[in-house]
């Protein structure tokens, strides 16, 4: 039986016109009509969804159904935040030993330096939680939730500059054109949100007083996947979603009137031409109308109790801050959104690190804790994977002038720290180890491909098998080289 044509055959012209105006009825029908319907049936999902998963997905029972990715663009200094190296204090201003540097590639920003003087962190570290993980004084709030975190100190990449490195970790390739992680998950797993996009992106503002490294829409783009999988920006200014608001003077009744007429005429056209795409279009206009309500409802936080707002810190009520975005992230996944990504900029501290890093940490620290605790108290942490980190690490040696109070650090791809929490992640662990200089990995290296394989694994996906044929190749997020989920941090 072919439902498309069955429907068409059964419908009479009269029936089309009669049904119009009843949005719910149209949606039920429309949900049958999406192109993915074919896949949905094949996968025998219990209920036709507007955005169902691919057949056969998830590959196995997922530990997490949602992903919140807190991306610190610019590369936070692991040495000043997570990778405690007490031995460095005694080596202040001494040269980085060649045995450590191993002649490895430097950026041209420091490759001309005559020496590579060691800059120990000026920040105090202390053990926290039952696990005793060492955390810098710059992250006093995050430090309180270390028992929830798997801190991976041995992440590495090959890219050495921001543009290729951010593109690499978030799309699996240094060269533009590949789909982002969120787009892959939207494509593979679909969405449980009826009235919201599957993949939502926010770019909160930052406090460091310097020029911010660029972002690129490709970091949440769909690459060669259909563009409906690209991340939808949720904005703090203007329309929260592009073009969401009716023009001035057009109230919901005016819009509804227009849509009713539109639906009637489009249904007549469907009858005339028989093109099932028209049915999809009718449904998308109704979805658009519902988004006009669901998104303001999403961003209206007036119903949040003070106890919840307090968790995220004082900036939570200022739209566009990291704290406000973190709260929205929770509200989004609560509504079934598959992936939420926050991209916080300007962690690129080549100089004056002591001036800027504390400001950046203050932006995110309390909100990270708030988000984890809030998810936990709602029982959402078990099904939500939270990831924190940047595109590479920073050097132990100083870029520019070193003093007891001031220093800068260059890019360092060979090791850095990220953390994960929530669905399927073992809390209170530290995974991987670097040498005394936080320069090379000495135990359990985690390539960013492994990291991405881990994310997919926790979401119920075998990264080998989430593929899309493009330009003759079965494209994967993890590319063609070997990648393995990091078993050591799995619960």
């Amino acid at each position: 039986m072919d439902p498309v044509n069955d429907m068409l055959l059964r419908q009479t012209r009269r029936a089309f016109f009669k049904r119009s105006g009843l949005a719910a009825g149209r949606i039920a029908l429309a949900s049958l009509m999406f192109p993915e319907w074919f896949h949905a049936r094949a996968a025998a999902t219990p209920r036709a969804r507007t955005h169902p998963p691919l057949p056969g997905l998830p590959h196995f029972a997922p530990k997490a159904r949602h992903l919140i990715y807190l991306f610190m663009n610019g590369a936070p200094s692991q040495i000043d935040l997570w990778d405690y190296k007490p031995g460095l204090a005694a080596r202040y201003d001494s040269d980085l030993p060649d045995s450590i540097r191993q002649g490895q590639r430097l950026t041209t920003m420091t490759s001309g330096q005559k020496r590579f003087p060691i800059a120990p962190s000026i920040y105090q570290f202390a053990p926290h939680g039952e696990c005793g993980t060492m955390v810098s004084e710059l992250l006093p709030h995050t430090a309180q939730i270390v028992d929830e975190l798997a801190v991976v100190r041995s992440v590495y990449t090959e890219a050495i500059n921001h543009d290729p490195a951010s593109t690499f970790i978030l799309t699996g390739n240094q060269i533009p054109g590949k789909p982002s992680i969120g787009a892959w998950l939207s494509y593979g797993l679909g969405s449980e949100a009826e009235n919201l996009p599957a993949f939502v992106v926010m770019t909160p503002r930052w406090s460091a007083k310097r020029d911010a490294q660029a972002l690129y829409q490709r970091l949440w783009g769909a690459g060669f996947l259909p563009s409906k999988h690209q991340g939808v920006a949720l904005r703090a200014n203007g329309d929260p979603v592009l073009f969401l608001n009716n023009p001035p003077g057009v109230d919901p009744a005016v819009r509804r009137t227009m849509l009713d007429g539109l639906s009637k005429l489009n249904e007549a056209a469907l009858y005339q031409s028989g093109d099932p795409e028209i049915q999809t279009r009718i449904a998308q206009y109704e979805m658009a109308f519902r988004m006009q309500t669901s998104i303001p409802d999403l961003t209206d936080i007036s119903g949040e109790p003070k106890s919840v707002l307090d968790l995220y810190g004082p900036e939570v009520t200022q739209p566009g801050t990291f704290a406000a975005s973190a709260l929205l992230a929770r509200r989004l996944i609560e509504r079934g959104v598959r992936v939420v990504q926050l991209l916080h900029r300007e962690w690129d501290h080549h100089g004056d690190l002591p001036r800027d890093l504390p400001l950046q940490c203050r932006d995110v620290d309390q909100a990270c804790r708030g988000l984890i605790l809030d998810l936990k108290q709602r029982g959402l942490l078990d099904e939500t994977l939270v990831v924190w980190g940047g595109e590479f690490g920073r050097t132990v040696y100083c870029q520019g002038e070193l003093s007891r109070t001031n220093y800068g650090r260059d890019h360092h791809p060979r090791c850095y720290t990220m953390w994960m929490a929530g669905g399927g992640v073992r809390g209170g662990v530290v995974y991987g180890e670097t040498d005394d200089f936080s320069y090379n990995i000495v135990r359990d290296p985690v390539h960013i491909r492994d990291l991405n394989a881990t994310l997919l694994h926790l979401m119920g996906i075998d990264h080998h098998r989430l593929t899309y044929n493009f330009q003759g190749l079965d494209q994967r997020l993890t590319g063609t080289e070997e990648a393995n989920p990091v078993r050591g941090i799995l619960a």
């Binding site: 920003m109 500059n161 543009d163 690129y216 563009s227 073009f243 003077g249 227009m258 007549a268 056209a269």
Partner: protein
């Protein structure tokens, strides 16, 4: 499954899951994703639902088997020798039939002796192929196909796309009155073989709308529709087509599609993503299509226009094709790495655009699926590796090589300026020749002039100074005589602290400008009870880059010792008394005219008092370069390569004065007098000022002349190596230019470069170029290519829906001299194109993607056509062609959300007036944040080559066309047109509007819906005049004031509805 359990010979096993269920599943699954299989299924009688799918009588390797093996097996058993498992190769007959341990993977006509058959049917996971962890799984029908193929002898074929196209006559058909040209006969023959009939011709209104959109990207006007309806001549339609082909809009439409392929954008695309000027190239593409430049030339000019003999301006501009790739200047990026990336991008783009080959797969290793080795990739790479560009683009608007494009008028103006400059220069030389110059430095008894002091700081910082201390430092104090030592005036500055501490200021206006011989000074009094370890004066030039230190040279950590960043002046000054600290500007390498914009008093530990700081000028003609040749020569010699002098003069200055010839000395002296000697008595200054002013005017004119990035070949080619695993710094074998062996060889010649390559591409025997080109045109007009994977004609690409037709079109195109307009005309005048697009239930089931073309094309318009047609229907469209890109309405914050803060595209500054209504082709394309009006409708980001767009259908699109300012303002203007031009009654006006947007009259029920809708909106707005006023005020175009706002608002909403009709968003 053991050998014993193998199915008996000549028996195709039933599908494992039960045939009935399998067949149903299959029918559903096959349609959307497995085009080739759809072909297989359609070959069977469609009426017999529920039967097992019929296998083709004769299984063809190319059509049926290669796709299965390529998808499932070649990754491990294909071309890439490094990744080959068990030494087994299935992409060649030799490999597949080779004997391993006494067994063969494929033994012709014997399933029982074919290991492949055993493996794909095995139930033991250890034996089963493909392995489970590969994520691959053969479908039952694929297994059946493989079985029959082996039984039929397992015959291999060369991949079709690597064989030259064969021109065969059109096939016989039954319905002889249907075809309008030979193309139709191919389509009809396939339809007839499947017992299908073509659809009737589309109504005339549909037809003219379809073809007008396809050839111009815009809908027809009502006048054009009426003229066509009234034209009863048999060739009325062809006349429309011919009219459209001569419209300048045709070139814009064709160019628009090509710019996705060339990855055209208005910014660099990486990191800073600054603006860059490529738009003359974009305009050239438009004109190339309008002038019907033969397509082989179109290819050659773009790939190698610069290498043609005496290239024309157009040919050079066209060669910008190679420069459209994204580029970077990110601090820290490594030249060689990006040089490699750019060349790789050029190979990938050219191979995708012209050959439909995925050569990029061979960057790191041999191509796994197609016969392209890694070495062959780098041979092509070596051809594209020689463009004379810098790896770092400098974030510049015009990173070289570039070409200036002056208008004739500008050329003339430049010549005029040059004439004036020559004249002024001549006069200057004449004056200098008459000078009687004596160097004051050589005068023996010239009186010394008195030094003059300029005091910068005394009693306070200079007016308007921005004064700061380091974070954490104790504040400074201005103290009077009763509180401590003061040298001059009322107050002195007291600083006390631990470690490094300082007070510093910078000024915006009135910096101190230094002259030769100047000395900088400050007075300091060190507290004997608490002396600092060191004191330092720092001067702000370009940053705090000049420092003079007294006392412990290691105490204050700033600057590198032994450079001007930290000049050690001497021991700590004596304590308990005022000491004047002085430093020569020469010591700090401060050249004359350098501006000092700030001063810092820096200490390590201790207490100090600072007073009276400034500059002493000597003003001695003997040491002043403005008066003394010797002083000038000394100064410029010290500046070395940094001196702003002509190269020859600079070289001369480097020589020992004693060893210079008289002529050389004279030359230097003459240069001095012409350029630097500045005695007011000489009268040189006004002449020099005029020269300077004319030069500045010429420069301004020169800056205003547009320019574009072009290609230019290096004199010496860069060496190219096979790069191991694609890494730029891992050199393997050195390679020269070449092409994959599977393709025809390059013609022999003295040099092999881009021109050789381009000419090779368009040779008639090249199997790919013409096929790929006509396929893309086909895709443009019919929605899907004959080869659906327009980007991939390799073994993994999709089997052509009409292979013979593709060859016929390709050979015909070449034989016609690659004439594009003729070819486009052939497509759009065919009976195939002119069919009605109505989908019958039968066709929806049998051919959901319309690959067989038993009906006309029907699909959503592209982003550009949507926006342009809304503007056009609102009467707003500005037809101006070409030029600098425009910035139309865009929601706030799109660029700001991503832009590097110092990028010149960090902030979006919208244009106003006519620029808002230009065609979408001219919208400014920032590649890291492309226009949302375009990308929401599937336009690619233009970061890399794309030959095909998806066509999605999303709620975000609905929001855009309902609410975007462009669309809503267009709706108001359309509403106004309806009110103004549509007649007197609502009914007439609604009919008029409906016809404008669809080209056809509305049916009676459609009229009723619109009338009802208008009435409802009218009631709502009548009750809310303020809302009506707001609704009609959207956008910057003048709001019509001759219609009541509520009436206009109601019509605006109806027009908004009309512009959102599926039929209006769709090419029907």
């Amino acid at each position: 499954m053991t050998k014993d359990a193998l199915p008996a010979r000549r028996h195709i096993p039933p599908p494992r899951r039960g045939s009935g269920r399998f067949a149903r599943r299959n029918r559903i699954l096959a349609c959307p994703s497995l085009g080739w299989l759809a072909g297989v299924l359609l070959a069977a009688s469609p009426a017999l639902a529920g039967d097992a799918p019929a296998l083709p009588e004769r299984v063809q390797f190319n059509q049926h088997i290669r796709p299965v093996l390529s998808d499932n097996c070649f990754t491990c058993h294909g071309l890439d020798a490094n990744k080959r498992k068990a030494g087994l190769r299935l992409d060649t007959a030799e490999g597949a039939t080779a004997v391993h341990d006494g067994r063969q993977a494929v033994k012709a006509a014997s399933l029982a002796d074919s290991d492949l058959w055993r493996r794909i049917n095995a139930s033991d996971p250890a034996v089963h192929m493909p392995p489970r962890d590969s994520g691959k799984q053969l479908k039952p029908e694929q297994i059946a196909l493989l079985g029959r193929w082996i039984e039929q002898g397992a015959v291999y074929q060369k991949h079709w796309a690597f064989e030259p196209p064969v021109h065969s006559g059109p096939p016989p058909i039954r319905q002889a009155d249907w075809p309008r040209n030979d193309l139709d006969r191919f389509i009809l023959a396939t339809l007839e073989s499947k017992q299908l009939k073509p659809s009737p011709e589309a109504p005339k209104e549909t037809l003219i709308r379809r073809v007008t959109f396809d050839l111009t990207g815009l809908p027809p006007t009502l006048e054009e529709v009426d003229a066509f309806l009234a034209d009863t001549r048999p060739d009325a339609y062809e006349r429309v087509v011919d009219r459209l082909l001569t419209s300048p809009r045709y070139g814009e439409q064709m160019a628009r599609c090509w710019l996705d392929v060339t990855r055209y954008g208005d910014t660099h695309g990486l990191h800073l993503d600054n603006e860059r000027a490529m738009w003359p190239y974009r305009d050239w593409v438009v004109s190339a299509f309008n002038q019907n430049l033969p397509y082989d030339q179109f290819i050659i000019w773009q790939l190698a226009g610069d290498l043609l003999p005496q290239p024309t301006r157009e040919q050079l501009v066209a060669s910008g094709f190679n420069r459209c790739n994204v580029s970077t200047s990110e601090g820290g990026a490594i030249d060689e790495e990006f040089q490699v990336r750019y060349a790789v991008d050029r190979v990938e783009t050219s191979s995708t655009a012209f050959m439909g080959l995925t050569m990029g797969c061979a960057v790191c290793h041999d191509h796994k699926l197609d016969p392209i080795s890694q070495k062959e990739f780098y041979q092509v790479f070596s051809i594209f590796n020689n463009i004379a560009e810098n790896a770092m683009d400098g974030n510049a608007l015009l990173p070289p090589p570039t070409l200036k494009l002056p208008s004739p008028q500008q050329t003339q103006q430049l010549e005029e300026f040059d004439g004036r400059l020559a004249q002024l220069d001549r006069r200057l030389h004449e004056m200098v020749a008459k000078l009687d110059y004596h160097d004051p430095a050589l005068a023996t008894n010239a009186p010394k002039t008195e030094p003059k002091e300029m005091v910068w700081v005394d009693d306070d910082f200079p007016a308007g100074a921005d004064v700061q201390i380091n974070p954490g430092n104790a504040p400074y104090q201005w103290i009077r005589r009763d509180a401590g030592p003061v040298l001059s005036g009322e107050r002195a500055l007291r600083r006390t602290g631990k470690g490094l501490h300082q007070v510093f200021f910078t000024v915006k206006d009135a910096p101190v400008v230094v002259a030769a011989g100047d000395r900088l000074f400050a007075n300091v009094y060190l507290d004997p009870q608490d002396p600092p370890r060191a004191v330092m004066l720092q001067f702000h030039v370009d940053g705090w880059s000049r420092r003079a230190n007294w006392g412990d040279p290691d105490a204050i950590a700033y600057g590198q010792k032994g450079t001007v960043e930290k000049v050690q002046m001497g021991p700590l000054p004596q304590t308990g008394k005022w000491v004047r600290l002085e430093v020569d500007v020469a010591r700090l390498e401060l050249r004359p005219d350098t501006k000092i914009a700030g001063l810092a008093f820096t200490q390590f530990d201790g207490t100090a008092f600072w007073d009276q700081a400034g500059r002493v000028s000597v003003n001695d003609p003997a040491t002043d370069p403005a008066w003394s040749f010797a002083a000038w020569a000394k100064l410029e010699r010290e500046a070395g390569d940094g001196a702003a002098l002509p190269g020859a003069i600079k070289e001369l200055l480097k020589t020992d004065p004693a060893k210079r010839s008289d002529a050389e000395q004279q030359k230097l002296r003459e240069h001095y007098l012409l350029a630097a000697y500045d005695d007011p008595q000489s009268g040189l200054a006004p002449l020099r000022a005029e020269l300077k002013s004319v030069r500045a005017q010429r420069e301004a004119l020169d800056q205003a002349i547009p320019a574009t990035l072009i290609s230019k070949e290096l004199d010496q080619p860069r060496p190219a190596w096979v790069l191991i695993r694609g890494q730029y710094d891992k050199h393997g074998e050195l390679v020269g230019p070449g092409v994959p062996a599977i393709l025809p060889p390059l013609p022999p010649g003295e040099v092999t470069n881009r021109l050789t390559f381009a000419k090779w591409l368009v040779k008639p025997q090249h199997p790919l170029t013409a096929r790929v080109t006509v396929n893309r045109f086909w895709q443009q007009f019919f929605g899907t290519g004959i080869v659906k994977t327009a980007e991939d004609f390799g073994t993994r690409g999709e089997w052509p829906s009409h292979p013979e037709l593709l060859d016929w079109l390709a050979t015909d195109f070449v034989a016609s001299g690659w004439e594009t307009k003729r070819f486009v005309r052939l497509l759009v005048t065919s009976a195939t194109y002119r069919q009605d697009s109505r989908v019958t239930p039968e066709l929806a089931r049998l051919d959901p993607e319309n690959r067989l073309l038993a009906r006309g094309p029907r699909y959503r318009l592209d982003a550009e056509a949507l926006r342009d047609s809304a503007l056009f229907l609102g009467g707003l469209l500005n037809f101006e062609m070409g030029g600098h890109a425009v910035r139309s309405y865009q929601p706030s914050g799109i660029w700001e959300a991503v832009g590097y803060t110092t990028s010149n595209t960090a902030k979006y500054v919208q244009d106003h007036g006519d620029a808002l209504y230009r065609r979408s082709l001219y919208l400014f394309w920032k590649r890291t944040a492309a226009p949302p009006e375009m990308t929401t409708f599937d336009a690619p980001s233009r970061e890399q080559c794309r030959v095909r767009r998806e066509r999605t259908n999303t709620p975000l699109q609905a929001l855009l066309t309902m609410n975007d300012v462009t669309y809503f303002e267009a709706a108001r203007q359309l509403g106004y047109r309806m009110l103004h031009n549509g007649g007197k009654s609502d009914g007439d006006r609604l009919r008029y509007g409906f016809r404008l947007v669809t080209a056809r009259p509305p049916g009676s029920e459609e009229c009723a819906v619109l009338a009802q809708n208008l009435a409802a909106e009218r009631t709502l707005f009548a009750a809310n005049p303020e809302a009506a006023r707001q609704a009609v005020s959207v956008g910057e175009f003048k709001v019509p004031d001759d219609v009541p706002a509520d009436e206009l608002a109601a019509y605006t909403m109806v027009a908004n509805l009309l512009l959102n009709l599926d039929e209006v968003l769709t090419k029907n």
